[in-house]
């Protein structure tokens, strides 16, 4: 066992000491920090970003005069009445636009807005909305409906709040953040399985093409070498994730501190985020990352042992990457809409697809028994793939210059020691 530790140590240290690893360690949190800061600034300053607009209304129809009401950033005046002279005035002044309403304003596109710069979409939307409302109430009046009564009737704003009934009592089921977290976790798992599985595979190929394999396995058993490599690379992955999480938390804390204002829209979003059980999700993420990694890394190692160079891996990679890619696509398109559908449940049970599929479901709080079964399946799954991979690996690493086929792999599996 001591020798496996030595191998783990080497695999881990050679990777962690690489410049690229150290750079990535800091670049990713830095990017998250910068993105967070930018989003925050935009969210907090969106009001200030658009300057005050004055809209001068020239109403030839007589239906709209003095009926517009000011909103944030938009003021309505009726000072100018002549279109031609006021157009000349516009040339030197920013932030002023002229709304021209002809007598036959019902005709399509007959209402015009003039300004030095093109009118912004929010501004034209605001004007369209107000005009529609005014025209609507004008119509009501023309049909002899009591406007006094009408204005006394308040508009009711209704928003639907989704509540989920469960044994633990009703809980707020605002699913927006859940979807985001589920998909983010699924993408992270999907990417990391490929990144670190690929590293294991390249490591095996490297040892084979460098021909050091024979020296090493005259000192240790092939299985020890494979295990050491898989665990070593896995620890590199864990190191990277933990460092990212810690650095990101620290940097967003700093960012939050630097830019915080008591009533920003971000605070509301954070309040929603705080209702999500991060500890539980994080725990599941680490479990599915590790078990999924062990499951796939063993297969990747077996593929690496069967080939002489990376270009030959294609034919064996296909069946390994297919289930992952398939679940990934389903996850970001279908699964998050129906996290309790039979398809989602089944995919989250099969070890090939569970790491990605289950992570999409976890934020929605799937039944505990399903999580338990899925986790057991993962453990059984990686023990099984490790066993199969080890049998192929021990033969494969000593085969040079022989193009392996699937038939060959099966034969290798059945070789005696």
């Amino acid at each position: 066992m001591n020798k496996v530790l030595l191998i783990i140590q080497r695999e881990y240290l050679t990777r962690v000491r690489k410049k690229s690893f150290i750079i990535m360690l800091f670049v990713v949190p830095a990017l998250i920090f910068v993105m967070g800061a930018v989003i925050k600034m935009v969210a907090e300053n969106s009001d200030k970003l658009s300057s005050l607009q004055t809209v001068n209304v020239i109403d030839k129809s007589g239906s709209f005069a003095n009926k517009f009401h000011d909103v944030t950033n938009v003021k309505f005046t009726y000072a100018l009445t002549d279109l031609k002279s006021s157009k000349l005035l516009l040339k030197d002044s920013e932030g002023i636009s002229i709304l021209y309403i002809p007598a036959n304003y019902m005709q399509k596109d007959s209402v015009q807005i003039f300004s030095k710069k093109k009118a912004s979409i929010p501004l034209s939307e605001e004007i369209e909305k107000q005009m529609s409302d005014i025209a609507f109430s004008n119509n009501l009046i023309s049909h002899h409906i009591d406007t006094a009564l009408l204005s006394s009737i308040k508009r009711t704003n209704i928003s639907v709040n989704a509540i989920e009934i469960s044994d633990k009592g009703d809980k707020n089921a605002n699913i927006g953040p859940n979807i985001l977290i589920g998909i983010a976790c699924a993408i992270l798992i999907y990417l990391s399985l490929f990144i670190y599985g690929g590293q294991v595979m390249r490591g095996v190929i490297e040892e084979k093409t460098n021909r050091i394999i024979e020296v090493v396995i005259s000192s240790v058993k092939p299985f020890q070498l494979m295990l050491g490599k898989i665990i070593g690379v896995g620890l590199v992955g864990l190191t990277q994730f933990s460092a990212w999480i810690i650095l990101s938390v620290i940097s967003t804390k700093i960012a939050g501190h630097a830019f915080s204002s008591p009533s920003s829209p971000m605070t509301n979003a954070l309040a929603v985020l705080q209702t999500i059980p991060f500890g539980y999700i994080m725990g599941c993420f680490i479990f599915y990352f590790l078990s999924g990694y062990l499951f796939y890394a063993a297969l990747f190692a077996a593929v690496g042992s069967a080939v002489d160079s990376e270009t030959e891996t294609q034919q064996f990679m296909f069946p390994i990457t297919m289930p992952l890619l398939f679940t990934y696509i389903l996850s970001v398109s279908v699964l998050f809409r129906a996290p309790d559908s039979p398809l989602a449940v089944w995919l989250s049970m099969i070890p090939f697809t569970a790491p990605v599929a289950m992570m999409v479901r976890i934020p929605f709080g799937p039944p505990d028994w399903q999580v338990a079964v899925s986790m057991c399946m993962m453990v059984i799954g990686f023990l099984f793939t490790t066993y199969v991979a080890a049998r192929i690996y021990r033969v494969g690493v000593l085969m040079y210059g022989k193009k392996a086929s699937y038939k060959e792999l099966v034969k290798w599996f059945f070789y005696k020691e």
Binding site: L6, T209, N210, V215, V216, S219
Partner: protein
């Protein structure tokens, strides 16, 4: 030291070893000979416990071969290589630790070897920065660093330039003098006679010859001699104590003949016969070289199988 008994190894398409048995005595330099593809590497891999035989057993110092023996064997494979991106010093220590050495001990011994082979300046270099010959030297050091009792070298001289090959040969001899048993495989015969105490010849998965080099060569003696004499040419009439095989004459009255003794005659009888007739400059027994024996045996063996 090493006793290989009735090893059989079958691969999918072919048989690599058929019932091969060998005895390597402690302190010997043992040559494993045979053409390419004869099964030498398969046998070496079995001794290194990289693969296991289908049947048969290997004993190391009287004990059945097991994991504990790995640390007492040093192995230089035919296909050599090291981690390209790793610093050489660190890599050597890693390989030595895999063989059970402590870090401090490995470091100490490595210093000694690096000085001895003039490699001190390489410590921090990566393997990919070294020339092929330098890599081979480094790999040789990695093979012997843990002071194994048994050093197994697969085609040790292939890939070395003549200077380094000589250097490595001297190191092998020195290690042998210090008590290490050496088993090496080769298909080149030049090195065999001057290095090996004993050999085994493997061809097409069968062992076809083994024993001490001296004994083997002696057993292939067939009482043939070269004789060189000066003077007028002797006309052999059939009453001489030998059979004449070849005759060459040069203009300056120097003659060379190749003869084979007949009956109970010895080389002394030949001299007694010749001396009255001419001046004998040389009489040398023709002992077949290992190379000739090798070729003869392999050809015979191949012919017998087809």
């Amino acid at each position: 030291m090493l006793s290989i008994r009735n090893i059989v190894k079958q691969y999918a398409g072919h048989r690599a070893l058929s019932d091969v048995s060998l005895e390597v005595e402690s302190g010997q330099i043992f040559g494993l000979l045979g053409p390419n593809g004869a099964g030498k590497t398969s046998l070496i891999r079995i001794v290194n416990q990289i693969t296991a035989p289908d049947s048969g057993e290997v004993y190391f110092n009287g004990e059945k071969l097991n994991q504990s023996h790995i640390e007492r064997i040093g192995y230089l494979p035919e296909e050599r290589g090291l981690y390209k991106k790793m610093e050489i010093g660190e890599q050597m220590i890693y390989l030595a630790r895999l063989k059970g050495l402590s870090r401090a001990e490995a470091q100490k011994r490595l210093k000694f070897w690096f000085e001895k082979l003039e490699m001190e300046t390489w410590w921090k270099k990566k393997i990919e920065e070294l020339s092929k010959g330098m890599q081979q030297k480094a790999q040789f050091v990695a093979t012997v660093l843990h002071e194994p009792d048994l050093i197994i070298l697969d085609e040790p001289f292939s890939g070395f330039d003549p200077v380094n090959a000589e250097l490595i040969k001297d190191e092998i001899l020195e290690l042998n003098k210090k008590g290490a048993t050496i088993l090496f495989s080769t298909h080149r015969m030049e090195s065999v006679e001057e290095l090996c105490d004993a050999i085994a010849l493997i061809n097409k998965s069968h062992k076809i010859l083994d024993g001490k080099v001296k004994h083997i060569r002696n057993s292939y003696r067939n009482e043939t001699y070269f004789v060189e004499y000066e003077g007028s040419r002797i006309a052999f009439d059939g009453n001489q104590p030998f059979e004449l095989l070849e005759e060459t004459h040069s203009e300056d009255e120097s003659h060379t003949i190749k003869i084979k003794l007949t009956g109970q005659n010895t080389s002394n009888d030949v001299l007694q016969y010749l001396i009255p007739k001419a001046r004998v400059n040389m009489l040398q027994e023709v002992i077949p070289s290992m190379h000739e024996i090798f070729i003869e045996k392999v050809n015979l063996n191949s012919a017998g199988h087809e």
